[in-house]
Symmetry: C2
Subunit: 415 residues, 2 copies
């Protein structure tokens, strides 16, 4: 088996575990006798198109480096939101990337990302095959949205769930100190998929909140919301509402679309950037019920909280990275390294290869029957699914009382 080099890049939104996956890929690459140099593509395929590639090998000589990287949130190789064009219409980016692969003698390419990134990996796999270029292309999943098909869950999701639930328990604790009745609205990420918002129901095990949960898959009815809230307020002094940023009304329109001051913009995949569902509910409660109300948007903290990691998530994220390399070395290409759950309790999983076609650009919906029809509680099946993913505490290293993150020097190779 000829020795070839490895190239890895990251794409899409950050998670707290995506660098753990990167560390797994790099560790397996450094340890394989069949892999020479390990290269990192910066800013995903977009950066690679302009030659932003770094030979990471010399930066990983200290064995502590990989462990530090694994516990660092964000994306050590940075990101892009670049959609590869239809190759029939515009082949130029493909030609440029294949040229890069050849120049650097790349035999293995790993793209860590969500559904859009799997689409990019699939297109590159096809284009390499078409050209007869022997580059094994493996997609490696990550997303806090957990909406990727064919994998039991996505690395990064567990740590996001842990941060969201921890914050809800703390918000509820904070609210509980005052005698006056109050409502707290917590806005959670997830444009189309309610996985993360629904998972906040786990926090009920540590005190009862959240009391109401609104996911984007279910049409939001303001009248029913207000009547459910009024009913709850006869029993609960402090009500916590968990709401997805992406809730829509029965007509499919984002419910906050008409509020003044709400921002709407569109990214390069055509996704609407959302902000304001929490503020909308706050406004609704204030004007229609008139009690003390506050909304909190967990914002980017929920995807980058390296100080509140799920130990299970980090361990699995690294293993997915290692196994992605093992798959490529075994000759697989055009595959995604997916997590397969073997049992809930004790929790066990392994990593298997699934065709990228089954994940690329596709979305795995949250099973509607996992959240009760009254938007209040998770099914036992849902609890059994979510609970193992947040097990164990872990955090990024601290120095001088502050988080200390791993950073690569951006010494781009001369091409």
């Amino acid at each position: 088996m000829t020795v070839k080099n490895l190239l890895v890049a990251q794409s899409g939104g950050p998670t707290a575990a995506i660098n753990a996956t990167l560390s797994g890929v790099l560790e397996a690459g450094l340890n394989s006798p069949h892999i020479g140099r390990v290269y990192g593509g910066f800013h995903g395929v977009e950066g690679m198109l302009s030659g932003k590639v770094v030979d990471l090998t010399p930066q990983l000589s200290d064995p502590e480096a990989l462990r530090h990287l694994a516990l660092t949130p964000g994306m050590a190789l940075r990101s892009c939101r670049y959609k590869m064009p239809d190759p029939k219409k515009d082949d130029a980016p493909y030609a440029t990337l294949l040229e890069l692969f050849k120049k650097l003698d790349i035999g293995y390419f790993f793209y860590i990302g969500g559904n859009d990134s799997m689409d990019t990996a699939l297109k590159l796999h096809h284009r390499c095959a078409q050209e007869g270029l022997d580059v094994k292309v493996i997609g490696v999943p990550k997303t806090i949205d957990n909406d990727l098909p064919e994998t039991d869950h996505t690395p990064g999701f567990g740590s996001a769930v842990k941060y969201v639930c921890t914050s809800i328990v703390e918000v509820a604790r904070d609210a509980s100190v005052y005698p006056a009745q109050s409502v707290m609205v917590v806005e959670i990420m997830g444009r189309d998929a309610g996985w993360l918002t629904a998972s906040s129901g786990l926090a009920q095990r540590a005190g009862g909140a959240p009391h109401l949960i609104y996911i984007p898959e279910r049409a939001f009815d303001p009248d029913r919301f207000l009547s459910d809230l009024r009913e709850l307020m006869t029993r609960e002094r402090h009500v916590i509402v968990a709401v997805s940023e992406g809730i829509r009304d029965a007509a499919g329109d984002y419910v906050h679309a008409d509020l003044p001051g709400v921002e709407r913009s569109v990214d390069s995949f055509g996704h609407v950037q959302l902000s304001g569902a929490g503020r909308y509910l706050e406004h609704l409660i204030k004007t229609q019920i008139g009690c003390k109300v506050r909304s909190i948007e967990l914002s980017v903290l929920q995807r980058s909280a390296g100080h509140c990691l799920s130990a299970t998530d980090i361990a699995e994220a690294a293993e997915v990275g290692r196994q992605a390399v093992a798959l490529a070395l075994a000759g697989e290409s055009g595959k995604m390294a997916a997590i397969r759950r073997l049992s809930d309790s004790p929790y066990r999983s392994d990593v298997v290869a699934v065709p990228l076609e089954k994940a690329a650009g596709l979305v795995k919906a949250f099973p509607s029957d996992w959240l009760s029809e009254d938007n209040r509680t998770l099914s036992q099946e849902a609890v059994d699914y979510f609970l193992p993913l947040i097990a164990g505490e872990m955090q990024t290293p601290f120095a001088e009382g502050l988080p200390c993150h791993f950073t690569f020097a951006e010494n781009f190779v001369k091409l």
Copy 2:
């Protein structure tokens, strides 16, 4: 020395360390041969007026209970925002509380809170003295605002600083992954005192953010802000702005007062409840500069994040509680248990008694020369002051991957 009972209550806003102080008071009370029962007043003096008092002694028989309590955020005895009236105009609440003290044979009363709570403690001290009732009244400081005079700093502040700085480092890390230029505005609590917002400058030691810092003590000039930001954006791709919720313009008006949708309400001390400085800056940047911008309000999370505690803060908070009891047992009354700094490095402090008159209802302003005139950096003196307060990591216990908080059963005594 006659054996008397101890009563303790909490007031004002929650902090992540106020229960550590409570645990210190209770520990010292349980360990003293001169103290019989330890009682907790629920919902501060307001709850005590309606007899909400619990004998905590039987709930603390497990030695682990105090340690669990110390690591639980929020307020285990809950809170109130009740202003004791001028006793010349309305003596009724004083008479009720003194009657409560007599009925429960209270010899020692501890009120844990901020400047308004110190005012309540002082009034109760005077009223007991006037009646000849031998109750030692000690005020015990807490507030994330750090604006209490006569104490080097307040318990709870260090953990809030740690959470704010940690969040800023993570927000900056999150922003750094994208190639597009962006501005993130982080809104921090502190209505009148810029201590907490200024302390976010410590986070620069872990990556450079925040780049601009706006405190309420300094008039906010939108034109200068925009020109400073534009200048920074020629050098920094991702700019992080830390802003206090209480920034005002040169005329002393809250800068966001004119924005539509901004909520304003007033609490029982006449303090305006603020929300919107971050949103105001976001709006300003979007309309005047037009780049990608997002605002994040750290909201109540910054005062209740039991999952991100400063070990130094928790240890000191408990010690202040223990020493407050020692002061009362030594015969002090009408005093506040204050922290005195002995050295910055290695950091050492002790607890001393100061007259409540010097703190009650008063505010300690942030020293303006600790933040550079261009709102960018802390002075060395400021860094030396802040840095020891965030040293060491600690968190509330977790169970099943979720925070596990200590709770008292509310078995109110029969009076």
